[in-house]
Every structure is written in C-alpha cells, then in structure tokens.
Amino acid sequence: MTDSRPVNILIVGVGGQGTILAGKVLSQVAVLSGRDVKFSEIHGMAQRGGSVVTQVRVGERVWSPTIDPGTADFMLAFEQLEALRWSHMMRPDGVIVMSITTIDPMPVITGAAEYPLGIPDRLSESAHVITIDAADYALQAGNPKSANVALLGRVARMMPFSRDLWEQALSETIPARHLAVNRKAFELGWNAL
C-alpha cells in the first residue's frame, strides 16, 4: 500500500448477513493504520433480504467512495450467487474469499429462475478464489451470527495490517458482550486453509 493507487475491497452478501459490520471493522483497521479510507454502503429497501454491497477503499489518498468494474483487489463474499453477481468488479489478479453458503433468491424460490451451478469454478476462471465454510467456523466460535467475522479473519491475513491492529479494530467496533465470540471466529478464519 505504498503506491498511490488505493486498495479496493468489496463486501457482498444478502441483506441481514452482517456485511456492514465486516466493513466497519475493515474501515477501522485502516483508520488505525493512519491511512485514508472511504466506506460506502446503501441503506433502505435493499436491506430487506436483497443483494447488498459495501465498498471500502484504503490508501494514502482516496477520492471516490465507490469502486469501478474491473478494479476490486479483494472481495469478501458472504454468499455464492452474490460473489458471481459482483465478480465483474474484480481486477484480473484479485482475490475472492467466499463463504460456501447459498441462499435462494425469490425468483429461484418461485421457480422463475435457477440457482447457477459450479460458481467456485466459474469465479476461478478470472480471479484467485478461496472458499471457506464460514458458517461452520461461526458455530465453532459459539454463535452462527459470527460467520461474517470468520470470513473477515480469512481475508485479513492477506492484508497489510498487523494482527494487533486487527484485534484493536475488533475491540473498538464490536460490542463488549459479543467480543469474545467474534475474536474466536476471527481467529478461526485467520487460521483457515
């Protein structure tokens, strides 16, 4: 992160999966590192089970709060179909860290569309893809809702921030009563293959 180009990170998922919290921790670690950061999300109607995307840009100087197609360095995908939906945002050497979770959208539930098959293979054609069972790590950590932080842990170790800084960002962002579970989930993600 010494060059002038910001690092672009997309966090994608389904409304209600906890993408915003993951974005908050990520932004906070960037702030703590002394870098410029911008964070963009959409509230309102899309939050009700729709496709959601949070955009985080970190660098020496960040102008636009949003990321353009073909320029994302990292994607945290909380759900497979959402990873595919936003895959055109990735740069050719980008890294996608994806939970194996699948959630049928309404057109699939009603039979109007089919859930695409073989998503990890399709994504691998143009990006470096790491899949993890984030839901399982969350259960191991003690709360199924900590899957977001497990996923964050996996991508965290590829980013230029120290483990200590991540721990500080977690403790500054997550309410004290949920901190222990989320630190455990983060560690499981950090150590995942």
Binding site: V14, G15, G16, S27, Q28, V31, L32, G34, D36, V37, K38, F39, S40, E41, I42, H43, G44, M45, A46, Q47, R48, G49, G50, S51, V62, W63, S64, P65, T66, D68, P69, G70, L81, E82, L84, R85, S87, H88, M89, M90, P92, I103, D104, P105, M106, P107, V108, I109, T110, G111, A112, A113, E114, Y115, P116, R122, S126, P144, E172, T173
Partner: protein, 588 residues
C-alpha cells in the same frame, strides 16, 4: 465513532451533518425519516444540549424549525428529496420572510433511485425559491458546510438548502471534530412586515427578496466554499458534490472549479476560470443544472456527454474527460455475469405478508403506499395496482370509486401506521366527507420499519427516547368520522378474509387495522417450522407467499431453520397439514 491518533474520526455524511449542526449551536433539529436522510436526526438525537424530534411529516418538521429560528434559536430540518415536496409550501414563503437565527433545510437526494419513487434533483428548489444551495463533497465538508450554511443563513437573512446525495450521506470518510459552540438565543422582535405574509406584506417583501438575492450573488463570488484548483489547463472542469470526487479520481491533475455553493453561481469566478483554460466542461450528477446556469454566464461550456439520469462514477467521468482530451479511455474488460436477480423481500415472519396473500387471493384492486409493505408489489405476491407518494393510497382509492362506483366493492387502500399519520389522515377525512364506501387497511407494525425502526406519534416514544402520549390510530380514524373500525391480527387469515368481505360490502367507509409488531423489533419466540416430505404433495401453494425461508429441494419445500420466524402462515395455508413445528417419528 472511534478516534485516531490525530482526533479524526470516520463519519458518514449524515453523521457529519449532525455533528456540524451540533458544533455550530443548533438548538432545534427536526425530521421525518426517509432514505438517505434518516441517520442525520438519529445521530443528532444522541448529542447533549440539542433538542431533536421526529415530526409526523416533512412540512411540520420545517414549520417547527421555522418557529425555532424566528424566536432566535438555530435550527435544522432534514428530509429526503421527495420530503421537500411535502415541505415546499412553507419553504417557498419562508424564502420571502427570511429568518432570525440560522435555519438550514437538509435535502438528501437519491440519484440512482436506490430507495425512492423518483430521482428529482432538488437543486432546482434553489432557483425556484431564490435561496442558496450548498453541496458538500465528503464528510468533512458535510460538517464544515453545515457551519457555513448556518452562518450564511443568519448573515443573508435566508433559509439555506444543504443538499446531499445518497453517496455523500451513506459514505464514511475522516472528519476532524471540534466542540460545541453554544449560541445564546438571538433577540426576537415582532415584525409584521417580515413575518406575516398577507398579500400586501408579501408584495412588499418581493423587492427585498430580489435585493437579498443580489447581495447573495456578490457574497458567493468570494466565498471560500467555491475554489479553483489550477492544473492541466487544456481542460477546466466545473463540478460539485460527489462528482468532484469522481473527477479527482479520474484525472487528478486537470484544472477544477469546485463549487460548494451551486445556487446562485459565482458568475465572475466562472468567467475567470474559463479564461484560464482551453475548454470548459461541467461534470454533474442528474440534471444539467450547473451546465445551464454556466451557459447563462456567457461561458461557452461544452457538454460532458454524461447522462442526466442515474449515478456517476469515476469510470464514467474518466471516459467523458478522455473523449474531450482526445485520449483513449481506460478499457473495462469485465462484463457482469447473467445471474438471477435478488430483489428485496419481506422478512420471514413479517406480518404484512399474510395481508398481501389474502388481497391477491381475493383478486382485489390495491392502492398502495410507502413502506416495507410496498414490497407486496413484487412477485410472487404482485398485489399492488398503483403506488405513488406518501399517503396517496387513500385519495387514489377514493378517485377510483368516484369514477367507477362499482369498483369500491373490490378495491382497498393499504397504508402503514407512520405513513397514515404522515399524510393518510387527510385522505381518510376526504373519504368520510365525500360519502365514500371505501375500505382502508392500516398495516400497523408500530414503527417506521423500512428506514430502520424510528418512532412516530403512535409509538409513545420520542426521538430522544422519552415516553410520551400516544396518538392512537383507531382514535384518529374515529375522530375523522369513521364508524366501521376493526382491529385484527393479520396472521389470522381466515378472519382477515371474512372481515374484508364484510367491509367491502359496507355502504360506508371502513378501516381495518391489521396490528402486529415488526418481526425485526419484536422477534417471535415461536419455534421454526418443518415440512414433512412424506405428507407434502408438492402443490407449491407455500411458494406463493414469497417467504425467503422456504426454498425447494427436488419436489418439496425445505424451511431454513435459521430464517423461519414461526409465523405459521405457510402451515395455515397447507391443504395437507404437511408443515408443522415437529412431526412425531414412527417410533413414537
């Protein structure tokens, strides 16, 4: 909010607007919730030393802020772009009276229509009302420009519009914060010519408004909110708001005239800028508002070629500027994959779902309104026939009945609790007054759900968390003269259908209050349901309610145990009793 070493904190544009209002001594802050403006009032309500309130609608919010300003307290009213239409009546006359203490109207516009019914560009209100419009480009400017707007309002004796957009309001960036500057009340003195807008006085105010406008035109020439950043002189970009960030991202070295005040424009500054560059181009989101006003200065700006609908991006701006510079734009090599859409849906366990299931089953014409229940328009429920603006459902249903009286027996208006109090009450009064036999369903989930669960006059809690008296919805309906009022549980679909059949036949106005709390504010402790694959015949009736907890595996539904709220709508519909909390195993 958490601080860094140098006391800069990461704030959204909305949080920074609130911070700016607090630091600059605002006493009274008012709002009605609406994306993307909602978090401004939510953030300000948490500060000490400031009074913050939700009003029933945007018009009242602005009127409360006007009263505060006139008696000498700084005030702010915040709302989404379409909310300004509701507040436009006092706004356009407030432009005549001017203010006493600083008064800022925050308009949060929604380019790209992320969560709105239209994409209107509220900069036009500035020209319409002859009042200044200020546009910040990031969170630091949201805070600083709020201070500048309050100052300008007091100095120039005018309300000022601070215009944000979704990407400004909902993006976070670093902000240097300060402490609050307490400001004593300014003295109030009775001034009929200034504040009582009877025709004679309004006529006399007009020349004063025009001379004020001339003073503001001179003021903006030297305001630090407008600035030139000289760079590559082949092209000079005039820009404002979020578009400035895209310009800097795409071409950091071009010459830029960054406008912090987008109405009125600094004519001399624009001419000076134009003289210093070979070509002038205007880069702005939505309507060609700046472009047309720049042309009026005599500067021959070229058109950017950018569309007047939707959001801009750094890539779009890069392409437009590359074309003007005769350069190749950076190619985008990726294309979006063709994948199924994921539209928003009502939550599992949402009390609105059963109502829309019954309405579409009875094949009724439905006049809809604004809230989570607008999602009843989407497949598979597809229950709405029309949807327009806040509170419109009731008036539109009345119009349908007056044009086609027979339609009243198969038409309902559907409106939420907060939307009813916002502007549905007057529609209901119209029904009673004009002898309608219409049927109105009020979906009362006890909160403003879509915008993130704000309180309103029927919840009994204020914006700052104090208990207060409740405006009971059934009392309001009775008060405007409705005699047939039924309160029911929306999950009891047999009763709902029975009551609907009776009320649609009734010869006078009926109100049905379908009352059940939002599943997100009061999650049910009911057990999640399961499907017995042995009993299920695969009829797919349960797929027609649009519940995201139900998916299909082979020929049978599967209920996601982590999503199911246990509302039992699907179980009550199932003709084969194949859905239950648990099924006895063979051993039992």
């Amino acid at each position: 909010m958490s601080s860094t070493k140098d006391d800069r904190i990461l704030l959204s544009g909305n949080e920074a607007i609130a911070r700016g209002a607090w630091e600059h001594g605002v006493r009274v802050a008012t709002a009605y919730p609406g994306t993307p403006s909602t978090e401004i009032l939510e953030a300000i309500a948490k500060y000490d030393g400031i009074y913050a309130q939700w009003s029933p609608n945007e018009k009242v919010a602005l009127e409360v802020a006007i009263g505060a300003s006139v008696v000498g307290g700084r005030a702010m009213a915040s709302m989404k772009h379409v909310g300004v239409n509701v507040a436009a009546d006092p706004l356009l006359t407030l432009a005549y009276t001017g203010v006493n203490a600083g008064l800022v109207l925050v308009s949060a516009d929604d380019p790209g229509i992320h969560s709105s019914q239209n994409e209107q560009d509220n900069r036009f209100y500035g020209r319409f009302a002859r009042i200044p419009v200020i546009e910040p480009s990031d969170s630091q400017e949201c805070k600083d420009f709020m201070g500048a707007a309050l100052h300008m309002s007091e100095d120039q004796d005018t309300v000022v519009i601070l215009r944000s957009t979704t990407r400004i309001s909902h993006s976070k960036s670093l902000v240097t914060v300060s402490s609050r500057e307490e400001r004593p009340l300014l003295p109030y003195s009775k001034d009929i010519l200034k504040y009582v807008m009877v025709p004679g006085n309004a006529l006399r105010r007009q020349p004063e408004v025009l001379s004020r406008h001339a003073r503001i035109e001179a003021y903006v020439e030297t305001s630090p909110l407008n600035r030139i950043e000289w760079g590559d002189r082949r092209i000079g970009v005039i820009t404002a708001g979020i578009a400035y960030q895209y310009v800097k991202d795409a071409y950091p070295d071009v010459s830029v005239l960054k406008l912090g005040i987008t109405y009125p424009l600094p004519v001399n500054l624009i001419r000076e800028f134009a003289k210093g560059v070979e070509t002038v181009v205007v880069i702005e989101e939505l309507e060609p508002f700046l472009y047309e006003n720049v042309l009026l200065t005599g500067v021959e700006a070229v058109h950017s070629g950018l569309p007047r609908v939707g959001e801009l991006s750094a890539a779009k701006v890069q392409k437009a500027l590359a074309r003007l510079l005769g350069e190749e734009p950076e190619p985008v090599l990726t294309v979006p994959a063709k994948v199924p859409m994921r539209p928003p849906v009502m939550c599992p366990g949402c009390p609105h779902r059963s109502v829309f299931y019954v309405l579409q089953k009875m094949k009724l014409m439905v006049s809809g309104d604004i809230g989570c229940y607008t999602l009843g328009a989407l497949p598979p429920l597809s229950a709405l026939d029309i949807f327009m603006s806040m509170g419109a459902s009731i008036g539109m249903a009345l119009g349908m009945e007056k044009a086609d009286p027979a339609s009243a027996s198969r038409t309902v208006a559907v409106i939420g609790d907060s939307t009813f109090l916002h502007s549905g009450v007057t529609g209901l009064m119209d029904m009673v007054y004009n002898k309608s036999r219409g049927t109105v369903i009020i979906l009362d989930n006890g909160t403003v759900a879509m915008t993130g669960h704000q309180d309103h006059p029927a919840t009994g809690v204020t914006a700052q968390g104090e208990e207060t008296r409740i405006t009971a919805i059934e009392d309001v309906a009775a008060g405007v003269g409705v005699r047939r009022i039924t309160v029911l549980d929306p999950f009891d679909i047999k009763n709902l259908e029975k009551v609907l059949r009776e009320e649609l036949k009734a010869e006078e106005v009926s109100v049905i209050i379908a009352r059940s709390p939002c599943v997100l504010t009061e999650p049910s402790d009911a057990e999640p349901l399961m499907v017995s694959a042995d009993v299920c015949k695969g009829c797919k009736l349960c797929a027609r309610i649009g519940c995201p907890a139900i998916s299909w595996m082979d020929d049978h539904p599967v209920i996601d145990q982590s999503l199911c709220g246990g509302c039992s709508l699907c179980a009550n519909l199932c003709p084969f009793d194949a859905i239950s909390v648990d099924f006895p195993t063979v051993e039992e």
